[in-house]
């Protein structure tokens, strides 16, 4: 099928502001959006710039605003978003500074990630073998530990767009991963970090994050669980 690929371009070395460019591409319905954008880059306009690596939705490099929603370009098939002769649009994710075309500055995102102490803390001497944990307790981390830090969620959040100091859903998901790990010893500290103006209380349950997550993590639900955990901790 033939489709138009509209990409929001911006090169700080020559452009004052972003502008759309459209490319005609011949593709098949089973192709990934990433294949199409790669095609544009490889055979039509090599200056198109974006991040990508794994091409199957595991590395989290290629979060973009595709047809108005945040998705991974490599996990979105054309047949699901466009018909023959139709148009797909690709824009950089919002709320982070655009560096070039579809590529944004990820540092603020990782800053927020690092600020929730995203690492296992337990200073007790470990046993010779593994620390024991029941399958049910392990299951508590199943959803949150699935996160690939793609930023689809955080950059779809209407609060994050306007208020960059909000730590964002991705960080809260990461905090959840440790807060509900029975082996971890720093629950209190993480709940304290969540219990602030920039933490869970900024979430207005807009659900864009949940809809955007390519790993199907029920993010809003996890955020609500953290809100309750903070509340019960303080109660």
């Amino acid at each position: 099928m033939n489709i138009n690929v509209k990409i929001l371009r911006f090169d700080p070395e020559k452009d004052k502001k972003q502008h759309w460019e459209t490319y005609q591409v011949e593709a098949s319905p089973g192709d990934r959006v990433l294949d199409v954008i790669n095609h544009v880059k490889w055979y039509i306009d090599p200056t198109v710039t974006f991040r990508r690596s794994c091409a199957h939705g595991i590395c989290g490099s290629d979060a973009m605003l595709i047809n108005g929603r945040n998705r991974l370009a490599c996990k979105t098939l054309l047949q699901d978003i466009v018909k023959d002769g139709g148009t797909i649009t690709a824009e950089p994710i919002r709320g982070l500074k655009v560096e070039k075309d579809l590529l944004v500055d990820m540092e603020p995102f990782f800053d927020a990630y690092r600020s929730i102490m995203p690492y296992f803390i337990n200073d007790d001497a470990p046993p010779a073998a593994e620390r024991l944990q029941s399958p049910e307790d392990a299951e508590r981390m199943d959803q949150s530990s699935n996160c690939i830090l793609c930023a689809c969620c955080t950059t779809s959040c209407p609060i994050f767009w306007v208020n960059g100091s909000y730590l964002g859903p991705a960080s809260i998901v990461q905090a959840h991963r440790f807060i509900f790990d029975t082996r971890d010893a720093a629950t209190q500290q993480r709940l304290n970090i969540m219990n602030q103006n920039t933490g869970v209380w900024r979430c207005r349950t807009a659900y864009n994050c949940t809809e955007a997550c390519p790993r199907d993590i029920p993010i809003t639900q996890l955020i609500e669980e953290v809100k309750r955990a903070v509340m019960y901790q303080q109660a």
């Binding site: 070395e13 090599p46 974006f50 595991i58 989290g60 560096e99 593994e130 620390r131 399958p135 690939i148």
Partner: protein
């Protein structure tokens, strides 16, 4: 810009992060350079698990694991490496658990384990549960956990820095040259020790499970210096990649009971490996699949795939233990493994060969085993000769943590005592020239076209089945592609985030890896492990029980000189393990080559 550290790690996948963590524990300053954000590394794609003889489900011993590794590697495995590995990996897995890795659990709360191809009890009697897993995203968990620990330790990261050159003079490595993607600036990193852990190069093949960024950069850089690449002819094709896409379907799917079926619905593996059936080592399963396809029993529009059948498994096993791949086949093929057969075909997956290293991770410079001082390598890009001619599933993640750790520890030990070596004048000259040439070339050739041809021809001529004439043809093709590569010009003039430039540079690296592989494969006139020659059907232990070492032949551009290195049977090198186990005296255990049946 110029930087100075005691230990420098290149690559932030499982191996690099493990090395950085352990180097830092050695009380030296450490920095980690990676062309990707660490969590984007391809270790995150690993699904099945990490093999270690914990014996949580059934009795298991490291000796059995060692034996399986050697036999799986078709006896090209260095047996001291296998011994260290099989012992150390047990503790390394516990250590990952202590770092918080969320493993799946048994009912008693221990780390859950499952069966995996080629892993057996009692020296080959029956399959054993040895793969420690976290659902089917073990690699993802390892990568996340190790990155988290590095955040905790405050490791310095240089993300999106592309290493272009190693600085090696008089057998001593004194640092690296890197290109900063966000500014286009060249940085020199001066260091006492450098650990390379930049991953594989599966992208030289058309159908691969590897990321677009796995282009063999550091292997090629090493090779360009006239240094050897070991066992490059051994490249593993994983039996089960989603058709056309090559996206991996973990072996865990067969470990959980998935069955391969041809177009008649026959469980054909019963004919090829009567004992282990679908759980035979990968080289054997891949070849069996291809044989089925060639004999007309394939499925799909082009009859170039076979089916994997999960429909007899309980829904919750599929939804929970195999959620990742269930998601992948739903997303990309629109098929639901709960009720549909999923078509798969072998996909280029793992490089057994690479930069030759000792069991301590030190890089070997020639056939005689001389070393490059201060240079270490680990992970897929290194060749400790653990995997021999064919890697067993789950042994790579084990390799990363065991040998990543060893190289980290040893590099730090070295750096604590060593002086900083002199930096040569302007070490960045060559890198600048490389960039300049690509920016100013006439541009009559398109990098993407060359890459596509490379991938297609490598797949056809140096793929699962190989023969002399095809590979000779490939040598010519590579000559031609290399000549055309000289005309590749980068059109994007910008300094910042010039990804076109990076892709062009990576293509150059890929051409080198393909060259070393093709020549090594052409040279080895036997079939062993993953290297299967139609014109030399059998394994030839008399002439070929040795590692090949491919050197760039500077006197004849485009050709390769092959040297050899013996396979280690006894622990004549002497070694100590990092962990608390008492090592058996070197050479206590050895497994002489035997015919390989499963």
């Amino acid at each position: 810009m110029h930087h100075r550290y005691d230990v420098l790690v290149v690559g932030a996948g499982g191996a690099g992060l493990m090395a950085a963590l352990y180097a830092a524990k050695g009380n030296v300053s450490v920095a980690c350079i990676s062309k990707l954000y660490p969590t984007r590394s391809h270790t995150g794609a690993a699904q099945g698990g990490v093999g270690a003889a914990l014996g949580n489900i059934q009795e298991d011993h490291w000796e059995w694991h060692m034996y399986d590794t050697i036999k799986g590697g078709d006896y090209l495995t260095d047996q001291d490496a296998a011994e260290i590995f099989a012992k150390d990996v047990i503790e390394a897995v516990y250590e990952l658990e202590h770092m918080g890795l969320p493993f799946s659990r048994t009912e008693e709360g221990k780390i859950a384990q499952r069966k995996f191809g080629g892993h057996t009890r009692d020296f080959g009697k029956a399959a054993v549960e040895r793969s420690c897993y976290a659902k089917d995203r073990t690699g993802h968990m390892i990568l996340q956990t190790l990155y988290q620990q590095n955040v905790k330790e405050g490791t310095t990261f240089f993300n999106e820095f592309h290493v272009l050159d190693l600085i090696i003079e008089n057998g001593r490595c004194s640092g690296v040259v890197a290109y900063e993607l966000s500014t286009g600036e060249i940085h020199t990193f001066h260091a006492k020790a450098v650990i390379m852990a930049a991953g594989g190069y599966g992208r030289i093949f058309k159908i691969t499970s590897n990321a677009l960024t796995l282009t063999g950069d550091l292997m090629s850089i090493y090779y360009r210096k006239g240094l050897p690449l070991e066992d490059m002819e051994f490249y593993q094709f994983h039996p089960t990649g989603l058709t056309k896409l090559g996206i991996l379907v973990t072996e865990g799917i067969r470990g959980e009971g998935g069955i391969l079926r041809n177009k008649d619905g026959e469980r054909f593996m019963e004919r090829y490996a009567p004992t282990l059936k679908d759980l035979a080592p990968r080289d054997i399963v891949s070849r069996s699949i291809y044989t089925e396809i060639r004999e007309g029993r394939g499925v799909g529009p082009d009859k170039d795939a076979v089916n994997i059948d999960l429909t007899h498994l309980p829904r919750d096993v599929i939804e929970n233990k195999l959620s990742e791949i269930t998601d992948l086949s739903r997303t990309y093929l629109g098929l639901d493994p709960v009720k549909d057969l999923v078509p798969i075909q072998p996909t280029a997956h793992y490089a057994m060969g690479g930069i030759p290293t000792t069991i301590d991770g030190e890089c070997i410079a020639d056939d005689d085993g001389n070393l490059i001082e201060g240079l270490y390598a680990a992970g897929e890009q290194a060749c400790v000769s653990l995997h021999g001619a064919n890697r067993l599933g789950t042994n790579s993640l084990g390799d990363l943590i065991v040998f990543g750790r060893r190289s980290g520890v040893n590099a730090a030990k070295y750096a604590r005592h060593a002086e900083l070596a002199e930096m040569p004048e302007a070490p960045e000259t060559e890198s600048l020239a490389l960039i300049e040439r690509l920016k100013s070339a006439d541009g009559s050739e398109n990098a993407a076209r060359i890459r596509k041809e490379l991938q297609e021809t490598m797949m056809n001529n140096v793929g699962i089945f190989r023969n002399g004439p095809d590979m000779e043809k490939q040598v010519e093709i590579l000559h031609d592609l290399r000549a055309r590569y000289q005309h590749v010009g980068v059109q994007d003039p910008s300094q910042r985030f010039n990804s076109e430039l990076i892709e062009a540079i990576e293509l150059g690296f890929m051409l080198d890896c393909a060259e070393a592989m093709t020549h090594s494969a052409l040279n080895r006139t036997e079939s062993r492990g993953a290297h299967d020659r139609e014109d030399f059907h059998t394994r030839d232990d008399v002439n070929w029980l040795k590692h090949s070492m491919a050197y760039k032949d500077f006197s004849h551009p485009g050709s390769v000189r092959i040297g050899y290195k013996p396979v280690v049977f006894k622990g004549e090198r002497g070694y100590e393990t990092v962990n608390t186990y008492t090592p058996t005296a070197p050479g206590d255990l050895k497994f002489p080559p035997k015919p390989r049946t499963f």
